[in-house]
Point group: C2
Chain length 301, copies 2
């Protein structure tokens, strides 16, 4: 499934994306490898963490660190931390009291395999582990300064005025305007993508201009990503997506698609992708991040 | 209810405990005071956070900071962070898929008031906010070094090999021996009490010996606290406790009480309280922390 998804990248960029993915998965698989007596928790955490996501967020962290001259070893714990936060949010979003989803990435969701209580705990465990991994001096080459700043950026993006706030807006179903849906997704998806990019800058000790460019890229990319998600939910191939499609419409949910229509959505995805790439226009070495944006624009899952 | 609970403290110590409690509650009530459009989340977080706990953990943070010569202003965000972690764990433990509790501290539990989805999110929001509050340079007088170290201590205590691990052991109901129950509670309750004490030391830049004393105090106190909890669940006054009693026995749960019997439990509470106090024997100014331990030994809720 994975290899099919990146046809429009050059060989070199595809290799970079795949080798970053392997690096991240190898690292992720090390954190919870031991199995204490309460190891069912670790098993549930690992089940969702290693269930084969696209690893977009950690890829952004590594890519921005590299773009601005940092060492990938410094960025790797940050990359793993952001993926843990992302995974916890999926586990909790899938719970029966939330979206009640049975499948994710072609596999049963965490609560379908381990039960609801364990899924709540696996989410809690991953959310907390993100900060452990970031802040443990034994696990990182970051300075305390870098680790503290990265952890703050991550907590703010994930928290009550970031991702958790966005999920709240989502379940409250308050939003019926383009502006409202935009704010929902800036919080629910955008904030974490932005934090992923920012952490890459922190790992590289990048300056203000570099950081602004990374944030702008991530914000446009996040918006393109979300609108593409709405389109795929309506028009995508459930087999490629690894989950049921049509759920937004079935739930009568307001989305970019229901408000703007599919034509406007498609051209908006293009426009935001273009703006993402333009954000990096003055930075040498941007080709990989531009290719990543192009791939996401054309992804089928 | 609160004032009844501390009859055996001297006037001076009682005043200290009560003024620390007010300080913490005032600070806690400031963090989520704004109400954005998704402010139902903030309301749910605040509902549980300000539902009148004993504030033992933050009191320990402030007390150890003071004992070792630090400034309470430095310790206050740490104290609030540990209380947020404690509160999130109560919200998630009370969920229908966990302990399914309707009342806590004499009030309806978070999910009974705001629904299950919002309670999951309120817990997630508080867990994340603990790290925001600790790590936000604008909210704290800590150095980045202190904040990073405190956040790491807190994450480790709260995480998969700490509190979340303990809750996993609890729902798996694996433990049938004194040793097993001990480990469960060292994780589920002990780890966070210990982190509260350690953070006070970090706030005061206390040395190794001071830190060892604080940890020893917290570990003995935590054990006394938990055994007393088991006794109160069986023999306490539901009205004073603000929740149903007898739930352990009704659930056929193995506890210190079911394994050791009430006589042995009572003398163990005494012994652990004594050991907690002895841990501080060489430290001038320990009277308040000793009084706190005595109060907890004799508490009725």
């Amino acid at each position: 499934m994975k290899k099919m998804g990146i046809p429009n990248m050059t060989e070199k960029n595809r290799e970079q994306f795949q080798s970053d993915g392997r690096l991240i998965e190898t690292k992720l698989s090390q954190y919870f490898a031991t199995r204490p007596r309460w190891g069912m928790l670790h098993e549930a955490m690992e089940y969702s963490l290693l269930a084969g996501g696209k690893r977009i967020r950690p890829a952004l962290t590594l890519a921005f660190c590299r773009l601005f001259g940092g060492s990938v070893d410094t960025a790797l714990p940050m990359a793993c931390a952001v993926e843990m936060i992302h995974t916890y949010s999926l586990i909790h979003d899938d719970l029966p009291c939330m979206d009640d989803d049975d499948y994710r990435r072609g596999k049963l969701t965490c609560h379908k395999v381990y039960g609801e209580a364990m899924a709540v705990l696996a989410g809690d465990g991953l959310l907390t582990a993100a900060f452990e991994v970031l802040l443990d001096p034994a696990l990182t080459e970051m300075t305390r300064e870098q680790a503290g700043e990265a952890a703050f950026v991550l907590a703010k993006a994930a928290g009550h005025n970031g991702m958790v706030g966005g999920q709240t807006l989502d379940i409250m179903e308050l939003e019926t305007t383009e502006q409202g849906i935009l704010e929902l997704h800036q919080k629910k998806t955008g904030a974490l993508l932005r934090a992923a990019a920012e952490m890459g800058c922190i790992a590289a000790n990048a300056g203000e201009a570099a950081r602004r460019a990374a944030i702008s890229y991530a914000e446009h990319l996040g918006l393109a990503f979300q609108i593409q998600d709405d389109l795929l939910d309506a028009e995508g191939d459930p087999q490629l997506m690894g989950k049921q499609t049509g759920s937004d419409q079935a739930a009568g949910k307001q989305t970019f698609l229901s408000i703007l229509g599919s034509e406007a959505c498609r051209s908006r995805v293009q426009k935001e992708t273009e703006l993402a790439k333009q954000s990096l226009a003055v930075w040498e070495g941007r080709e990989y991040l531009c290719a990543l944006a192009d791939w996401l624009e054309n992804r089928a899952y």
